[in-house]
Amino acid sequence: MQAARRSIALVAVSLLLSGCSSTSKIISDLTGERALGDAKPAVKADKDRKSAPDFELKDANGQSVRLSDYRGKVVLLDFWATWCGPCKIEIPWFQEFERQNKDKGFAVLGVAMDEDGWDVVKPFAQHMNINYRLMIGNDSIAEKFGGVDALPTTFLIDREGKIAAVHVGLSGKRDFENGIRELL
């Protein structure tokens, strides 16, 4: 009888905890903060990191951009599009990260996956005051990075050019901050 009561109590506690967990998830989603207890490493352990594929694209000024040019820097590589609402939430965060960390060996690179290219990306970038380097992506680049089936998809790349974290979909600002801080 006592054992049965204990089991019921355990089930009740776990149900309560799972309820708290989903509630805190909603709160953390909205604030961009990770709830206590949801803590997970912001970046992969060094031994688990794989080299980021290199690419060469043109930026808005027609200048060539290679990912390998950024070896020695921490890079936030953001695949996004002008038609992607969740991407628009993250853009101001990335502008802030660029401002705060560009002198510490950090850079944001934005790869726009818009089919209409610069015709839509340039006015959008001006409207959003984007202060980091933008390029127009294509299927071949997306393929190199595992397909990039959903946007935003953001890679944090360490100074050795290895992928330290991947965020698919809208992530918390704090998650990015923690990852960048750890890599810098």
């Binding site: 989603d29 609402g85 839509v120 959903a150 946007l151 809208l170």
Partner: protein, 156 residues
């Protein structure tokens, strides 16, 4: 050889419409019914669309210029398109947007009015259409896709 047991056949028959539907994980278009098109008249085709739960697609008239609208286009032969009629979209607020977005969710139908030319050749034909859409959920968006449609008609 005996008759096929109808109780065994029933589940297979139930699955047939689904087998004809144009689908991916997010958007499904039911195979449209065959239409009889009499020369010098108008006919209306109905395209039934279903969006998976938790997803939305932009309506044909999104509020923001950067968003990709829902578009239905048809090849001009052998019938000519008079008008495409979309249902009334819903304004919904999402976590990632300050303003409500004009979207379609769940099940809805798009109607197309065709004019059947007097010179249309009689007999069966297939009208080819394209439904272009761009879907998101509350957390991420997916590249625009196009579903190829085939509308069987019989011109009389």
């Amino acid at each position: 050889m005996g008759f096929v047991n109808s109780s065994r056949l029933a589940p297979i028959l139930l699955l047939l419409p689904a087998a004809f539907a144009q689908s991916n994980a997010i958007l499904t278009v039911a195979q449209p019914e065959k239409l009889v098109a009499k020369r010098n008249t108008e006919i209306t085709a109905r395209i039934d669309v279903s969006i998976a739960e938790g997803y939305h697609i932009n309506s044909n008239a999104p509020h923001e210029v950067y968003l990709i609208p829902l578009r239905l286009t048809w090849t001009p032969e052998p019938l000519s398109v008079e008008t495409v009629i979309f249902p009334k979209p819903r304004d919904e607020k999402y976590q990632f947007s300050d303003q409500p977005l004009s979207v379609f969710t769940g099940n809805f139908a798009i109607a197309t009015k065709f004019k059947v030319p007097a010179a249309a050749l009689s007999g069966p034909a297939i009208l080819a259409g394209k439904l272009r859409y761009q879907a998101c959920n509350s957390n991420m968006c997916f590249p625009p896709k196009t579903v190829e449609l085939k509308l069987p008609i019989e011109v009389r």
